[in-house]
């Protein structure tokens, strides 16, 4: 089973134009009249979503996912990639908790401690991360060696007040990467007793404000949103697809909640006509998402509304 070859095919099919850009970049950069011979910096983004307390692989019981996943295997993969790549960032898009008896017994401790061992750089909050209540969230997230990023929950008057940050800027070899988190509407989804006075703020408005701040004030070269909104809905419910189309300044949305298995990222044009990548890799740690970026010094030549995506 050659997963990477099949992914490459999917990728080329969906993003034929984008996929060959790396090879033509020097030619194009010549048009901007600068950057020739300048240093290229690479950055690898690794990501998971909806791992749902699946620390062990699925049991070998003949079911669809038998033998897949497992945090100790994920550790090996991540360690190998860190050995090969100078600049790696590892993120999770929420629903770390709930789904195996590990959570029922330990309330999330081994999940968080395992993420520490794997060297996660940040995570956001999924609806099931409320399942042990806000006090448990404080206890377990307090054990994390990585920040919990969430920009659209106001935890004032709750135990979580001051325990999360809206965003964080990472510096990798001169590249400034801004990362922020977005959570789903708790009402109707999470028992009230589990989220109490947590206020849900409009994700589109918050995302626009936060991404603009990261781009303009924090001078970020690349902006990533960790989202637990869900990939896409049939109605007008805000999703990653809606978010991408209605915002500016986001380059990549790492999504979760809907357990969507995307073969390759989906590109949606934002309000400036720029194609935002949305990626989501299923659930339960069955997959690890990997996105390899390269950066060149200097500003890009900018032309709005001219993006070409091959479908």
């Amino acid at each position: 089973m050659d997963v990477s070859a099949s992914n490459r095919r999917q990728f080329l099919k969906l993003f034929g134009t984008a996929a060959v850009i790396g090879s033509v970049a020097p030619d194009v950069l010549a048009h901007s009249g600068r950057s020739i011979g300048r240093k290229t910096t690479s950055l690898t983004i690794l990501h998971t979503n909806d791992v749902h307390s699946r620390l062990d692989p699925f049991p070998m019981d003949g079911s669809r996912n038998a033998g897949k996943g497992g945090v100790a295997r994920r550790a090996t993969l991540i360690r190998k990639i860190r050995q090969e790549q100078a600049n790696v960032l590892l993120f999770d898009a929420g629903d770390i908790f709930q789904g195996t008896p590990y959570f029922n017994l330990y309330k999330g401790e081994p999940e968080i401690l395992a993420m520490n061992q794997l060297g996660y750089d940040a995570g956001t909050i999924g609806n099931h991360d409320f399942d042990g209540g806000l006090d448990n969230m404080v206890t377990q997230f307090g054990k994390a060696s990585f920040p919990i990023l969430i920009a659209n929950y106001d935890f004032k008057n709750t135990a979580m007040d001051g325990r999360s940050k809206p965003y964080k800027v990472f510096y990798k070899d001169g590249i400034r990467v801004g990362v922020f988190g977005l959570g789903i509407k708790p009402e109707g989804l999470i028992p009230r007793s589990a989220y109490l006075e947590t206020k849900y703020l409009d994700p589109v408005e918050i995302a626009n404000n936060t991404a603009t701040q990261l781009r303009a004030k924090e001078k970020c070269d690349y902006v990533i949103c960790l989202s637990h909104l869900g990939f896409k809905y049939n109605d007008s419910t805000v999703s990653d697809n809606v978010l991408a189309a209605q915002t500016r300044n986001i380059d990549l949305i790492i999504g979760g909640h809907t357990h969507t298995f995307l073969d390759a990222p989906v590109a949606i044009n934002n309000r400036d006509g720029q194609p935002v990548w949305i990626n989501q890799v299923g659930f339960a740690g069955i997959n690890l998402g990997r996105i390899d970026l390269t950066f060149e010094p200097g500003k890009a030549v900018y032309s709005s509304g001219k993006s070409v995506e091959v479908s």
């Binding site: 984008a18 692989p57 897949k68 550790a75 070269d221 060149e296």
Partner: protein
């Protein structure tokens, strides 16, 4: 023409950037995590081991004994009765008020309970889903509709109610607490949030008179109940009281 398309595509990919760098390329790969793609990291495995060992011990905790297998079945069976009665008993304590009846979706009862030792692991096998208990207050009309819906669908599993099925319609409903089913009176029904949210095609339940979430997992209810049964020292004798019968 092809080259200019590529050129436009690249420009489109590059965000307007006041910083020192711009994106020059991007590619993606989805890596399957399995025994073929990666071996087990020994340090993480060592870290997990004590958690797993204690977990296994927890799963093996014997809650109660049964003199025979406790099986599910339709129109009525020992497992149907004991699960819905357990829900009613435990949730009433949590709710603090009497609840008229309880309901489980038949498909949500995943397997039978064994003869002999009933462990926490056995309960996880019967109820692997993390469904929470909900108390819906509904009119008699809606309750009648709900009873018919499940008789005609996946199967009716209830506690606190006796009824007869005639021609796929539920009739002669009586409550254990002595109430009778009146179209315009209100009744409290204990069920999983899965059904209350419209699961099993029960979308009509989304507009009850009132909905109260107990934040109490159905599985935890059952674990608490069977543990109490075990403490009584009496083994469970699987029986069905014939609460649902077909005429």
């Amino acid at each position: 023409m092809k080259k200019s398309l590529l050129y436009l595509a690249l420009i489109g990919l590059l965000a307007c950037n006041p910083g020192g760098y711009h994106l020059a390329s991007r590619k993606a790969n989805r890596i399957g995590v399995d025994s073929l793609s990666a071996s087990t990291d020994s340090s993480v495995a060592r870290f997990l081991q004590p958690y797993r060992e204690k977990l296994d011990k927890t799963m093996n905790e014997v809650l109660a004994q049964s003199t025979g297998p406790i099986d599910k079945g339709l129109p009525d069976a020992p497992l149907n009765d004991i699960l819905t009665d357990a829900m009613l008993k435990q949730a009433t304590q949590r709710y603090g008020k009497p609840i008229d009846c309880s309901h489980l979706n038949y498909g949500g009862i995943r397997t039978n309970l064994p003869k002999g030792n009933i462990t926490i692991g056995s309960i996880f096998e019967v109820m692997p889903f993390d469904n929470q208990l909900v108390v819906l207050t509904v009119t008699g009309d809606m309750l009648q509709k709900m009873l018919n819906h499940f008789v005609q669908g996946s199967g009716l599993v209830v506690g606190g109610i006796r009824a007869k099925i005639h021609d796929k319609q539920v009739q002669a409903v009586t409550f254990t607490n002595g109430r009778t089913l009146q179209p315009n009176e209100n009744y409290t029904v204990l069920m999983s949030d899965y059904v209350a949210n419209g699961g099993d095609d029960a979308g009509f339940l989304k507009n009850p008179v009132k909905r109260e979430d107990l934040n109490y997992l159905v599985r935890d209810v059952l674990i608490d109940y069977f543990r109490q049964q075990g403490k009584s020292g009496q083994p469970i004798n699987p029986t069905s009281d014939g609460r649902i019968s077909i005429e």
